[in-house]
């Protein structure tokens, strides 16, 4: 079963919706560059599990893979995260402003009916 996303941000949020993947991303961000083997040791999980998570993160454009000989190195791709950050901040501001306006509307409506 493969989930098809029409929008890259959908893929980003799917990837980030998993706590294990967020921890892996945070570790790559902290170390700046990691191999899959290093992540296996750090998180004490199997190689296939790490590979599956890395593949999801890579497809979502959150990490970039560099191959050097037999080693695969992973770096954070900031662009994908920034896109998600913009979505969150815009909608947070949208709702905060609107819910403030909802409060004013409810108060005004009450005054008018008194």
């Amino acid at each position: 079963m493969t989930i098809q996303y029409k929008n890259s941000l959908d893929r980003t949020f799917h990837a980030l919706g998993d706590e294990s993947r967020r921890k892996i991303l945070a570790m790559i961000s902290h170390k700046q560059r990691c191999t899959a083997g290093e992540l296996v040791d750090i998180f004490n999980v199997s190689q296939p599990t790490i590979s599956k998570h890395l593949k999801v993160l890579e497809t979502a454009g959150l990490i970039v893979r560099h191959v050097k000989g037999r080693h695969h190195f992973f770096n954070l791709d900031i662009k994908g995260l920034k896109e998600a950050d913009i979505w969150i901040n815009r909608h947070l501001t949208f709702w905060e402003n609107n819910l403030d306006r909802l409060g004013l509307f409810l108060d005004d409506e009450t005054k008018e009916t008194k």
Partner: protein, 143 residues
């Protein structure tokens, strides 16, 4: 950058209104009332073009932003429990920057001594897929 990673969670906002849940709920369910406040600021002219408030009913909103132009937003009411909860999908239309990104808004109205605690959650639908994926993986099924 770690801060951004950690805050990728649904948006959750809580507000207290000194009005009963029925009244706060009506500000969502009544088209005329909804149009009065569903705008981020006074200078954004807002028109609710469609507001079919029933399960599987659709809504569509037009925002006219000065010097930028019009943006359209729409979705479907997927759960209505008057006056306790409303759940609707949220989708911006082209050419808005976030067009095509599926998300879900859930609004809970909790009665507190005649007042209302409103709790709004806005999450990417993809996050729900992720949870479903985990359920499948933990059950040992092959994807």
């Amino acid at each position: 950058m770690t801060a951004i990673i950690n805050k990728i969670e649904p948006i959750v906002i809580n507000r207290f209104y000194e009005h009963p849940p029925e009244k706060v709920f009506a500000a969502f369910s009544c088209k005329k009332a909804f149009e009065q406040w569903i705008a981020p600021s006074d200078n954004i002219d807002t028109r609710v073009l469609l507001h079919d408030f029933r399960i599987n009913g659709l809504y569509r909103i037009e925002f006219s932003i000065p010097e930028i132009g019009k943006s359209f937003l729409g979705g479907e009411f997927i759960h209505i429990d008057c006056p306790r909860q409303i759940c609707f999908t949220w989708l911006w239309e082209e050419p808005y920057i976030h067009a095509g990104v599926n998300s879900l808004v859930t609004v809970d109205f909790i009665e507190l001594n005649g007042s209302t605690k409103l709790s709004l959650t806005h999450e990417m639908k993809a996050c729900l897929h992720s949870n479903q994926l985990n359920d499948i993986l933990s059950a040992g099924k092959v994807l």
